[in-house]
C-alpha cells in the first residue's frame, strides 16, 4: 500500500481545493499535548526513529509525521511511561530493545499538537482518503508554531482516489515536506542533539608535541565524565556510571602510556586523583553488575535451590542503595566540583610550555612517541602471553588482560595517527582475545567476591551458603573451560600475521619529520 504523504500547505487552502472535486467531511479540531522520549545519547534520534506519547498511547515511528496507520507500533499505556524497553508492552519492547539496550528513556521535547481531520467520501459515504492537518506548537497550546503539516493517508483498497488527491495537492505545493516534528522543533529553536561518544576520538597529527596531546586526551575524558555526572546522580540507568568509569580508565591509561610527558609531580598528582575517583565508584558499579546478572546467577543453580539466593540479592540491593547514596552525595557536592576544576587546571598547567627539563618527552612529536611506546607494549604483551600455560595462576592471566587493555586504549586514542582500516583491523584481531580475558577475569573476581560475601555475613542461612557454593562451582567450571580457549586464542594472536598487521599499522599514516 502507498505511504502517507505530507505537505506544508495551510489547511484552508487545502479544504477549498478538495471541496471542488470531492465530498469532504470536516471533523472537529482537537489539541492535545505530545511528549517525545529518547535515551540520554539520543539513540532513537540517531537511528531515525521517534517515540512519542499522546494521552494514553505510545507511538513508535519512522519520522514523517504521526499518522493513523504509519506507526511501526502503537500501544496503550497507563500511568507513567516506563523507562526501560523490558517494561513496555511487547510489540514496542521488541522494536525498542535493539536501540536502547540498557539505557533508560526520558522525556525530551514537549509540544502541543492541533489536528483537524478531513475525510474524503465516495458516493456510498465511505471514507476513501484520510486527510488531516496538524499544527505543532512549542510546549503548550499557546506556544510558538514550529510546524504545520497536511497529510494524506491512503485507505486500503482505494488507491485510485489517493492518487488523485495527491495529484491535486502536489499541484498546490509540489515539494513534499519532511514532516518530522522533532527536526522542525530543533530547526526552529536550536538544541539539536549532539552525537555522544563515551570514547571520543581525537584528531591528531604526528608533529603535535606530546604535551598538547596528553592535555587534550585528559580534557576529553574529563568532559565525558562531566556529561555523565547528572545521569549518575539521578540514577536513570546503569550506563551513566559505566561510561563515567570508562572515561576515567581511559584517562589513567593514556597518562600511563605517555609517561614522562608531564612533569613527574603533576603526573603523579593527576594519577592519584583519578585513582581516587575510580575507587569511589567501584562499589556501586560492582553491585550494579551483580544485580544486572541476577538471572544469570539464578540459572546456575538447580531450580529447587534458586530461591535460596534471595537473601543475597536483597543484601546486594540494600548495599547498592547505601553505596549509591554516598556516591551521589559526593558527586553533587561542592568538594567534587572543586576537585574536578582543580584537576582541569593542573592539566593545563602541566601542559604549559616552560615546564620542561623535568619532563623528557614533553615536546617529543606524538607520532614518534606513540610508535615507540606501541612497539614496546606489543613486545610486553607477547612475552606475558607466552608465559600463559595451563597451570598459570589467575594473576598472570589478569596481568595479560591489563596489557591487552592498555594496548587497545592506545590504538583507540591514537587512531587518527594511523590508517583507519589498519587500526580497525588490529583492534578486530584483538577483540576475541580481549573478550575471553574479560570473561575469565570476571569469573575469577566474582568467585572471590561471593566467597567473601558469604563468609563475612553474620547469621547466614546455611541454605544460602550451599546455593552460593553451587554458583562458585559452576563459575570455576566455566573458568576452566575458558582457560583452554584462551590459550588457543593467544597462540593464534601471537603469530607472524599479528606482527605483520602491527607493522603495517605503524607504517601507515604520515611519518614524523626527522
Amino acid at each position: 500500500m502507498s505511504e502517507t504523504r505530507h505537505w506544508s500547505i495551510e489547511s484552508e487552502a487545502v479544504l477549498d481545493r478538495l471541496k471542488r472535486d470531492f465530498a469532504v467531511r470536516v471533523g472537529g479540531e482537537r489539541t492535545r499535548p505530545l511528549q517525545f522520549y529518547d535515551s540520554f545519547p539520543w539513540q532513537l534520534w540517531f537511528s531515525d526513529r521517534i517515540l512519542c506519547r499522546i494521552e494514553d498511547r505510545l507511538y513508535f515511528c519512522s519520522p514523517g509525521g504521526l499518522s493513523f496507520n504509519d506507526a511501526l507500533a502503537v500501544a496503550e499505556i497507563e500511568g507513567k511511561t516506563p523507562r526501560f524497553w523490558w517494561r513496555l508492552p511487547e510489540n514496542l519492547a521488541v522494536l525498542l530493545q535493539p536501540h536502547l539496550k540498557l539505557r533508560a528513556l526520558r522525556p525530551t521535547v514537549r509540544c502541543a499538537r492541533t489536528e483537524k481531520p478531513f475525510d474524503i467520501k465516495n458516493e456510498d459515504g465511505k471514507t476513501v482518503v484520510r486527510i488531516f492537518t496538524a499544527t505543532y506548537r512549542r510546549n503548550t497550546a499557546r506556544g510558538a508554531v514550529f510546524l504545520k503539516t497536511c497529510s494524506a493517508e491512503p485507505v486500503r483498497g482505494y488507491e485510485d482516489a489517493f492518487a488523485e488527491v495527491c495529484r491535486l495537492l502536489d499541484a498546490l505545493e509540489p515539494a513534499s515536506c519532511n514532516a518530522n516534528p522533532l527536526r522542525a522543533y530543533f530547526d526552529a529553536f536550536g538544541g539539536a542533539p549532539e552525537p555522544y561518544a563515551a570514547k571520543p576520538r581525537l584528531q591528531l597529527s604526528c608533529e603535535q608535541p606530546a604535551r598538547d596531546v596528553l592535555a587534550a586526551a585528559l580534557k576529553a575524558a574529563l568532559e565525558v565524565m562531566r556529561l555523565n555526572e547528572k545521569g549518575v546522580v539521578e540514577d536513570l540507568d546503569t550506563e551513566f556510571l559505566h561510561d563515567y568509569r570508562v572515561a576515567l580508565r581511559s584517562a589513567r591509561a593514556v597518562l600511563t602510556q605517555l609517561k614522562g610527558v608531564f612533569p613527574p609531580d603533576d603526573e603523579r598528582r593527576i594519577k592519584d586523583k583519578l585513582r581516587e575517583l575510580g575507587r569511589r565508584t567501584n562499589a556501586v558499579r560492582d553491585l550494579d553488575v551483580y544485580l544486572l546478572d541476577e538471572d544469570r546467577y539464578r540459572a546456575m543453580v538447580p531450580p529447587d535451590y534458586a530461591e535460596a539466593l534471595n537473601p543475597m540479592f536483597d543484601d546486594f540491593r540494600a548495599r547498592r542503595r547505601s553505596e549509591f547514596a554516598r556516591l551521589s552525595r559526593y558527586l553533587a557536592s561542592k568538594t567534587y566540583a572543586d576537585d574536578i576544576a582543580r584537576l582541569g587546571k593542573r592539566v593545563d598547567a602541566a601542559a604549559a610550555p616552560g615546564n620542561d627539563g623535568a619532563a623528557p618527552h614533553a615536546d617529543t612529536p606524538i607520532g614518534e612517541l606513540v610508535r615507540h611506546r606501541l612497539s614496546r607494549r606489543l613486545r610486553k604483551l607477547r612475552k606475558r602471553g607466552r608465559a600463559v600455560h595451563q597451570r598459570t595462576p589467575d594473576e598472570a592471566i589478569h596481568a595479560l588482560r591489563l596489557q591487552c587493555k592498555k594496548l587497545r586504549y592506545m590504538f583507540e586514542f591514537f587512531a587518527s595517527l594511523f590508517d583507519d582500516e589498519a587500526v580497525a583491523d588490529m583492534i578486530g584481531s584483538m577483540r576475541r582475545l580481549q573478550n575471553l580475558l574479560g570473561d575469565f577475569n570476571d569469573l575469577s573476581v566474582q568467585q572471590q567476591a561471593l566467597y567473601e560475601y558469604y563468609t563475612a555475613k553474620r547469621g547466614a542461612d546455611p541454605a544460602l551458603g550451599l546455593a552460593i557454593g553451587i554458583v562458585i562451582g559452576e563459575m570455576a567450571r566455566q573458568q576452566a573451560a575458558l582457560r583452554k580457549r584462551l590459550v588457543k586464542h593467544f597462540d593464534r594472536f601471537d603469530s607472524p600475521a599479528t606482527v605483520a598487521r602491527f607493522e603495517t599499522l605503524l607504517a601507515s599514516g604520515v611519518p614524523s619529520t626527522p
Partner: protein
C-alpha cells in the same frame, strides 16, 4: 491470528450485527482485525459501506491469495479492514466440493493473512454446506446467536449433533442469546433452561434493540452511533468476554 466465526443455520437472528460489532470492538481493543463477509447477500459489507472487488470471483478467493488480498478494503475505523462479499460467492459450496482437500481450503487462505491481522471475524451465510464445514474446521471459536424460543433450542441441539457426528470440535461453539427481551417470560425461561443444559453459552445477552435495527440506516456499527445505550454496551461486553476465552488467547 485467531478466527472467530459468527454462524447460524437460520437467518434474521443477529448473526451479522454480531460480526460487525465484534469486529469493530476487537479493533478498538487494539487488535488488527479483518472482517471477512462470506455471505453473498453482503450485509456486513453494506454496513461498512464497502463495495466488493469486481476481480475477486469464487475460484480466485480460494486459489489466488494475492487476489484475495487485493480485495481487502480499509474500513472507516482504526485497525479494522473488510473483505467484502460479492454475488459470485454463491458458487462457493459447489466450487469447494470439486476441489481437493475441500474442507481445509479456507484455513489455507486465512493462514496467508496471519502476518497482517491478529483477529479475523467470519460472517457466515445461513446454511450448512461445504463452506460452512470449512468454517467449522478453521475457526477457533464459533459464536452462534440464539433467539431464546423453543424452536431455537431445537436448532441449537441439531447443530451440536451435527458437530459430534461429523467430528468437528463442539468445544469451539459458543452460543449467545440474541434479540432477547427481558420482560418476555418465554425468553427468560428458555435462557435459563438452555444455560443449564448447555455449558457453552456466553454470559452476555444481546437485547432486542431498535438501535441495532437502525444499523442498516446509519451504516455504522451500533457501538459507534449509540455507544452508551444497552445494545452497544452488550456488544462491547460480548467482545470482551470472547477475547478472554482460552481459545482466543
Amino acid at each position: 491470528m485467531k478466527v472467530i466465526a459468527s454462524y447460524s443455520i437460520k437467518g434474521g437472528v443477529g448473526k451479522t450485527a454480531a460480526s460487525v460489532n465484534i469486529a469493530y470492538a476487537a479493533a478498538q481493543a487494539g487488535r488488527r482485525t479483518l472482517l471477512v463477509d462470506l455471505d453473498p447477500q453482503g450485509a456486513s459489507s453494506f454496513y461498512f459501506r464497502v463495495r466488493p472487488s469486481k476481480k475477486l470471483k469464487a475460484k480466485g478467493f480460494f486459489k489466488r491469495l494475492p487476489r484475495l488480498k487485493a480485495g481487502i478494503r480499509g474500513s472507516d475505523y482504526e485497525r479494522l479492514d473488510v473483505l467484502p462479499a460479492n454475488i459470485h460467492y454463491r458458487k462457493f459450496d459447489a466450487l469447494l466440493s470439486r476441489m481437493g482437500q475441500s474442507r481445509s481450503r479456507l484455513r489455507k487462505q486465512l493462514k496467508g493473512l496471519a502476518d497482517e491481522y491478529e483477529v479475523v471475524v467470519l460472517d457466515c451465510p445461513p446454511n450448512i454446506g461445504m463452506l460452512s464445514e470449512n468454517v467449522f474446521s478453521t475457526a477457533d471459536v464459533i459464536i452462534v446467536p440464539v433467539i431464546p424460543t423453543t424452536l431455537s433450542e431445537r436448532t441449537y441441539e441439531q447443530l451440536l449433533k451435527f458437530f459430534r457426528k461429523s467430528g468437528y470440535p463442539a468445544g469451539a461453539i459458543r452460543g449467545f442469546f440474541s434479540m432477547a427481551q427481558a420482560n418476555n417470560r418465554l425468553h427468560r425461561d428458555t435462557m435459563q433452561r438452555m444455560r443449564e443444559q448447555y455449558g457453552s453459552f456466553l454470559d452476555t445477552v444481546i437485547p432486542l434493540s431498535a438501535d441495532i435495527e437502525r444499523m442498516g440506516v446509519n451504516r455504522e456499527p451500533v457501538i459507534c452511533f449509540a455507544a452508551g445505550r444497552p445494545g452497544a454496551r452488550a456488544y462491547r461486553q460480548l467482545c470482551e468476554e470472547l477475547l478472554r476465552e482460552e481459545r482466543l488467547k
